[in-house]
């Protein structure tokens, strides 16, 4: 079998109590018609048969789904390793116990910053304190504890404090994810993009702290692709290893793929997951290298970065079949450089559009 999904991102809801301006959820989303619990249980079972070994329950805030424990139990029963990707809002002792008993293996808790005031300003709501309680509940239940902090111009200068804070909470793994500019983050790009100085300093701090905390807490530093010369190998190639099912039941090769104009995504309400993975036009559209144009087509890196991100090509270069404009070989690279040149050092959260629903 040439293509096999190993990991499923189960976006069980777009509802979220936070309003982070870097959210990668689609900006055109309404709360919509969420897939029912029973349907999710069927999807998890189908996913396991297709080869999925890891599921991330995400959103939005997955704890907003009252029957999340039943979904987790179904995934475990199907032999899938279960990860909860959460803001922590709604994760009190009782809920953590319920999820743990259902078979939750691991939780990835997000933080906006180490400092409560800054964190609450970024989240657009007073939630930092609740996250501390959620961290305690995860630890007490013995669920594997990871943390995630999205980095941007507003918190990069506190990277060392952020790392110490997360380590102090007892997390075993920390993902430091520089903002990827999709959804709300793209809309707020001018406010969120860091300066080159910030990025260089942050990379240095991350490397130092990674060495200092070796054996205590694993640190993953996700590079900011706008400052790179070659694109990221987005999703390890389109339709190669990952799939996402969004709250409405659409099956996507990547979580932000709905931003690509003209591409139609199949829905688990109408088709089997196996058919969608193997046969659908959307999953086959950018598989392999045959769809590529120059400069990707003849590039020695084409099997390494797969031409980068299709969403970024669509959003910035105006055509999803083009080279990711992050690549310095792309004729559209100037569009990225222009965005970087427009970075002004004064960051004010109040100028961001906070994530919200369009009813």
């Amino acid at each position: 079998m040439k293509y096999r999904p190993y990991a499923l991102l189960a976006e069980v809801t777009y509802r979220c109590p936070l309003h982070c301006p870097y959210c990668s959820n689609p900006t055109h989303q309404s709360r919509g018609d969420e897939l029912a619990t029973e349907k999710w249980i069927g999807v998890l079972d189908e996913a396991a048969k297709l080869g999925v070994l890891q599921v991330g329950f995400s959103g939005g805030e997955p704890l907003q789904r009252a029957n999340l424990a039943r979904m987790i139990a179904a995934a475990r029963k199907a032999g899938i390793y279960t990860n909860l990707i959460t803001s922590g809002i709604g994760l009190d002792e009782a809920r953590a116990t319920e999820l743990c008993e259902a078979g939750l293996d691991s939780a990835q808790l997000s933080f906006q910053a180490d400092d409560a005031e800054l964190a609450d300003a970024i989240a657009g709501t007073r939630t930092h304190g609740l996250k501390l309680a959620a961290a305690a509940a995860i630890r007490d239940q013995g669920i594997a504890f990871s943390a995630n902090v999205v980095l941007h111009r507003g918190n990069l200068n506190r990277l060392r404090e952020i790392i110490a804070f997360v380590h102090g909470l007892g997390a075993k793994r920390l993902e430091l994810a520089n903002t990827q500019y999709y959804g709300w983050a793209y809309l707020n790009r001018r406010q969120l993009l860091p300066t080159r100085n910030q990025i260089e300093e942050a990379a240095r701090v991350a490397a130092e702290e990674k060495a200092r905390l070796a054996g205590k807490m694993e640190i993953f530093y996700v590079l900011p692709d706008y400052y790179e010369e070659r694109p990221k190998p987005c999703m390890n190639g389109w339709g190669q290893r990952y799939l996402t099912v969004n709250p409405a039941g659409e099956v996507l090769p990547c979580p932000t793929a709905t931003c690509i104009p003209g591409l139609r995504f199949e829905n688990v309400r109408e088709r089997s997951l196996a058919w969608i993975w193997h046969e659908s036009e959307s999953f086959n559209r950018f598989r392999g290298t045959a769809w590529m144009a120059e400069p990707c087509r003849s590039c020695p890196q084409r099997e390494i970065d797969f031409g980068g991100c299709r969403c970024q090509a669509a959003m910035i270069a105006g055509d999803a079949t083009k080279t990711d404009p992050v690549c310095t070989l792309s004729p559209d690279r100037w569009r990225i450089d222009e965005a970087l040149a427009a970075v002004d050092a004064d960051f004010t959260m109040s100028q961001c559009a906070p994530r919200r629903f369009l009813e």
Partner: protein
């Protein structure tokens, strides 16, 4: 890589699961947001890491099973355990 004592008793770290992949029939190790497809040696070693058996006992068990001498196997087994220990997928009880 840290040195591994033959008297230590390796066990899978908490949150690490060893299971058979239903698609390939091959052993896999699952952990927070990670998957390792195991080779035969790693599977033979890991499936015996129960937190009670010492590494030297484990080498002897494998030697009998694979009709080899402990000396022939020891290097590979220690390498495998040290690698997984360095990635915090195995713990070494004294």
């Amino acid at each position: 890589m840290s040195k591994v004592a033959l008297e230590s008793r390796p066990a899978l770290a908490r949150h690490v699961r060893l299971q058979i992949d239903s698609v390939t029939g091959e052993p896999v190790l699952l952990y927070p947001e990670g998957i390792i497809e195991l080779n035969a040696t790693a599977h033979a070693v890991l499936s015996r890491c129960d937190g009670r058996t010492t590494l030297s006992e484990l080498v002897e068990v494998l030697a009998r099973e694979y009709e080899a001498t402990p000396e022939e196997l020891r290097g590979d087994v220690l390498d495998c355990v040290a690698q997984l220990h360095a990635r915090e997928l195995l713990v070494l009880a004294p």
